[in-house]
């Protein structure tokens, strides 16, 4: 146990002033201190990716980082993907292509895909599969997840053209 410290997390454009122990993970801070429970705990050792969030646009595992390390960074979680009621293209594609079953891994995949598509809109199909291989899903068998991300990518490219 260690003395609590003051830290401010910036999540989805909003500041969360917190007082927490330095040992508290970013994942636990997002969920328990900020009440944003859409980011999920799947393994706590960085393998499954259910806790993936965007840190300054980069997909990271929130379970492998302490909350205090995220101070000053722009954090984006699943709750920040939709604009009001309007879902983002990846969210829409996951519904349309049945990329969701139990939905537990879904936020992690959506953040991973959103981050990658924003950063690398020209990503090849092989590279896309490689990136999506970094998260685990136990329900869908992945096939529909890839289909959904490909569809979102096509939509983004179409929109940009």
């Amino acid at each position: 146990m260690s003395e609590p410290v003051e830290v401010t997390l910036s999540i989805n454009g909003r500041d969360y002033p917190l007082r927490l122990e330095p040992r508290r993970t970013l994942l636990d801070a997002i969920r328990d201190e900020c009440g944003l429970t859409g980011t999920h705990m799947g393994c706590e050792h960085g393998v499954c990716g259910a806790c993936t969030v965007l840190l300054d646009g980069q997909p990271i595992r929130a379970c492998l980082m302490f909350a205090v390390q995220a101070e000053g960074a722009a954090i984006r979680t699943i709750e920040g993907l939709a604009a009001g009621d309007a879902l983002n293209p990846v969210q829409r594609a996951f519904i349309a292509h049945h990329g969701v079953q139990c939905g537990f891994c879904t936020p992690g995949f959506l953040m991973l895909a959103t981050g990658v598509l924003a950063r690398e809109p020209d990503i090849s199909d092989d590279e896309l599969r490689e990136v999506l291989s970094s998260n685990l899903c136990r329900c869908t068998g992945y096939q529909n997840i890839v289909t959904a991300v490909r569809a979102a990518l096509a939509e983004l490219r179409g929109g940009a053209a």
């Binding site: 146990m1 122990e21 040992r23 508290r24 636990d28 969920r31 328990d32 944003l36 429970t37 859409g38 980011t39 999920h40 705990m41 799947g42 393994c43 706590e44 050792h45 393998v47 499954c48 259910a50 979680t77 699943i78 709750e79 993907l81 939709a82 879902l87 969210q91 996951f94 519904i95 349309a96 049945h98 969701v100 079953q101 139990c102 939905g103 537990f104 891994c105 879904t106 936020p107 959506l110 599969r129 490689e130 999506l132 291989s133 970094s134 998260n135 685990l136 899903c137 136990r138 329900c139 869908t140 068998g141 992945y142 096939q143 529909n144 997840i145 890839v146």
Partner: protein
């Protein structure tokens, strides 16, 4: 005979409509148990045995009790009034001594066994304090091989809890007169469902109403409520189970475990809400394992390759205790092993043995993943011995359409095994055509000549689902026209709510999106069958159909009175009742009918108030869907690594409620099956220390390992046992995968009968490659 429902308006049954569940899930608005918090809640952390087998001499909790935030620390002595966890269904009396206590008493039997429970104001503090509890124990040598002779479990009890024997036909005579006898020694590894969400439970006791609530329920909330009622000697109305979102079930989530009872008890005794969320390490060593079996199987065939008899003796590694299922996996292995083949004589002997590993129970397709591996390996071996094509040998033994319904003198889950319908040969033909089997063989042969180790394998199987005995639902329409369907079902990710809404919408004549489906709330409906053993669609779906037909009749009768029409002239389209043949004529909405049926409505007459109905479905037999799966794969000659290149699932569902959801179940099942066939295995060292306690050690497939999976869904054999003709989809994807992959690896490396153990890891395949080189060198 099966009939389509009296459909009108909805036109949604059988269509791949989007799921109702998805929108909150893609927005991070699902409510999993870890997402729920109550004021003043405590967090439980379980202290677990570090020993596989030991005599428990003492537990020192004094330091932990003094740690910050700690409210209480329990050991077995604190809950000595509670019995071990009971079986869900009545079981053989002889099995009772093998049940698991909530906390270990005088013997530690597996690494991960709960020994003490720490309750603290914060999850971090609870974990800190749990580390301060010390266990004094005298280590014993562990039992790790279920096929070794039984040893002592406790005074007067051996580690063999049960030997189950089943047989029919003249087995000995068949073996005596056989043209050929083929025998195999086969092993299936230890796997589990490993849902992405770990287990969790949150209990709250409301002393003002004397009601105990348990959040985090899944799979069988009503059955679990009944178990808690027995354990705590409370009334059924005094315990409420609540299922929210569930991060995958696969048979292992939603069973009652020691931790579920502990949080309930603590909520009542400490008078604060108590929350427990397990970590992944705990999940991999404390949640149910499954599958581990060793089979000595042999088959007698005549000169044409027709099976005369099958005999199997096997050892099921149950782990340290029996859990809520009792001996169900043992029974299912025996009753479903013969599969789609005639097999006129059969004898099975299953040894149900305790070891010092994590307790085992059901995991998606329990007994059938294992049994299909054994049966299909035997068929491949027979083909090889007789020099026949593996497909031809199967054709000669398949039960034909003319033989349906096919009765086998065995029982499964307390019902007679009667295959309700099916045309196995037709599906086999369709599968071979779909993958282009002949061309595929040519292509594989060309690649082999070019030096590649490539091959294809196939397996055929029969699955089961729709076990009764009964389920009921209640459906109602409010004055806005919104429909509520209350079920006792469970939604573990399979799209249950969407499927039920589709049946209700089609039957009633409304938009399926207007149907709110309630599941997993024991205070909303008295009875519920839950979601296990692939029965939800058949049982709850048929009950929904029955309830909705009654509601529809009531709506139409009232509308007929109000519109001065004959009921049979009326139809319901999009929630509006009007003349079937006269568009633009007088009509009335379901919401208005509900208003006219209000208790104080002057038009009510002598009708029962309310636009609602309850419906039931009962059955004494299961439905038997079936399938054919084919894999094409490549083996790396240097590393033994297997790359699956293509995969086909052909499956007859009877009738699909939503083909997209069925395909999702099948593909997901196949991928889980590939995990068990190639990568996943809970391993232990010689001291019984589990070696697979992270997701970096228990290797589940990622996208990289997954081939394109083609699904051929057919509806050639609707079930005659329910009005919609539906069978089940939950387990058919995973059932034969081990068998398919084994056959394909054999084909690829040119060593028939090579694969005898799952998973076929690179090390094991490498050993086969060595064996093949040695046998080639010898000839």
């Amino acid at each position: 005979m099966s009939t389509r429902p009296q459909a009108s308006g909805g036109r949604v049954l059988g269509r791949s409509v989007p799921r109702l569940e998805d929108r909150p899930l893609v927005r991070g608005k699902g409510q999993f148990v870890g997402d729920i918090a109550f004021p003043h809640q405590l967090h439980m952390r379980v202290v677990r045995s570090p020993y596989a087998h030991a005599l428990l001499r003492g537990i020192d909790r004094s330091v932990a009790l003094a740690a910050p935030g700690v409210v209480s620390v329990w050991t077995a002595a604190d809950i000595a009034d509670l019995p071990p966890i009971d079986f869900r269904d009545p079981a053989n009396e002889a099995l009772r001594p093998y049940r698991q206590p909530l906390l270990a008493r005088d013997r530690l039997r597996y690494v991960g066994e709960p020994v003490a429970a720490v309750f603290a104001t914060d999850a971090y503090l609870a974990e800190d304090a749990a580390d301060l509890v010390t266990i004094e124990a005298e280590e014993l040598s562990p039992v790790l091989d279920a096929a070794a002779p039984p040893s002592s479990f406790a005074p007067g009890l051996t580690t063999e809890a049960l030997v189950l024997r089943e047989s029919y036909g003249e087995v000995d005579a068949a073996f005596a007169s056989a043209h050929v006898i083929v025998a195999l020694d086969l092993e299936i590894g230890r796997h589990s469902g490993v849902p992405l969400e770990t287990r969790g439970a949150l209990a709250r006791y409301d002393s003002s109403r004397d009601v105990l609530e348990l959040y985090g329920a899944a799979k069988v909330p009503h059955r679990n409520r009944d178990s808690l009622v027995r354990m705590f000697a409370r009334s059924a109305a005094g315990i409420v189970l609540k299922e929210g979102n569930t991060g995958g079930g696969f048979g292992i989530r939603g069973e009652l475990y020691p931790e579920d009872f502990l949080v309930c008890l603590a909520a009542m005794r400490l008078e604060r809400p108590v929350k427990w969320i397990e970590d992944r390490r705990e999940n991999l060593m404390a949640a149910n394992h499954s599958r581990q079996q060793r089979h000595h199987a042999r088959v007698a065939v005549d000169a044409e390759g027709c099976v005369l008899a099958l005999e199997d003796e096997f050892y099921l590694d149950q782990g340290a205790y029996l859990r809520t299922h009792g001996a169900r996996v043992l029974e299912m292995t025996i009753s479903m092993l013969p599969g789609p083949y005639r097999i006129p004589a059969y004898r099975a002997c299953g040894h149900f043995r305790l070891t010092n590993k994590t307790p085992a129970a059901t995991y998606r397709a329990p007994g059938r993943y294992e049994g299909s591996f054994v049966r299909e390996r035997l068929m491949d071996a027979v083909a090889e011995r007789l020099g026949l094509d593996p497909i031809e040998i199967r054709r000669r033994n398949l039960i034909t359409r003319a033989e349906m319904p096919f009765s086998r003198p065995l029982s499964a889950l307390g019902t007679e095994v009667v295959y309700d319908s099916g045309d196995y040969a037709l599906l086999l033909d369709k599968a071979l055509a779909r993958i282009g089997w002949t061309a595929l063989q040519g292509e594989l042969s060309r690649r082999r000549k070019a030096g590649e180790l490539v091959g294809a394998g196939l397996a055929i199987f029969v699955d089961k689902g729709g076990l009764g005995p009964a389920d009921g639902t209640r459906v109602s329409v409010d004055t806005t026209g919104a429909v509520e369907l209350v079920t006792g079902g469970s939604n573990v990710g399979q799209g249950f709510a969407t499927a039920m809404a589709q049946i209700c919408a089609e039957t009633l004549g409304v938009d399926y999106r207007r149907v709110r489906v309630v599941y997993g709330q024991t205070d909303r409906i008295a009875y519920g069958i839950g979601a296990h053993a692939s029965r939800a669609s058949v049982m709850t779906g048929s009950a929904t159909h029955a309830a909705t037909l009654k509601l529809r009749a009531k709506a139409v009768e009232m509308a007929a009175a109000l519109l001065q029409a004959a009921p049979d002239e009326l139809d319901i389209m999009d929630g509006v009742v009007g003349h079937r043949d006269r568009a633009g004529g007088p009509s009335i909405t379901l919401g208005e009918i509900a208003r006219q049926l209000a208790p104080d409505s002057p038009t009510l007459g002598d009708r029962d108030p309310g636009l609602d109905a309850e419906g039931w479905f009962r059955t004494s037999h299961m439905t038997y869907p079936y399938g054919v799966q084919i894999a094409v794969l490549r083996v790396d000659g240097d590393t033994g690594a297997v790359t699956v290149e293509r995969y086909l699932v052909a499956y007859d569902i009877g009738r699909a409620i939503n083909p997209m959801l069925v395909e999702g179940q099948l593909v997901g099942g196949v991928v889980q099956g590939l995990g068990g066939a190639l990568y996943e295995e809970f391993r232990y060292d010689e001291r019984g220390e589990p070696l697979s306690v992270t997701l970096a050690d228990y290797l589940m497939p990622t996208l990289r390992e997954i081939p394109p999976i083609d699904v051929l869904l057919t509806e050639d054999a609707p079930s005659p046992l329910n009005p919609l003709g539906i069978k089940s989809a939950g387990e058919g994807g995973i059932t034969p995968v081990g068998a398919v992959i084994a056959a394909a690896i054999d084909d690829a490396i040119g060593l028939p009968g090579g694969v005898t153990q799952l998973p076929a890891t690179p090390q094991r395949v490498k050993a086969l490659l060595r064996r093949r080189r040695e046998s080639q060198a010898a000839t």
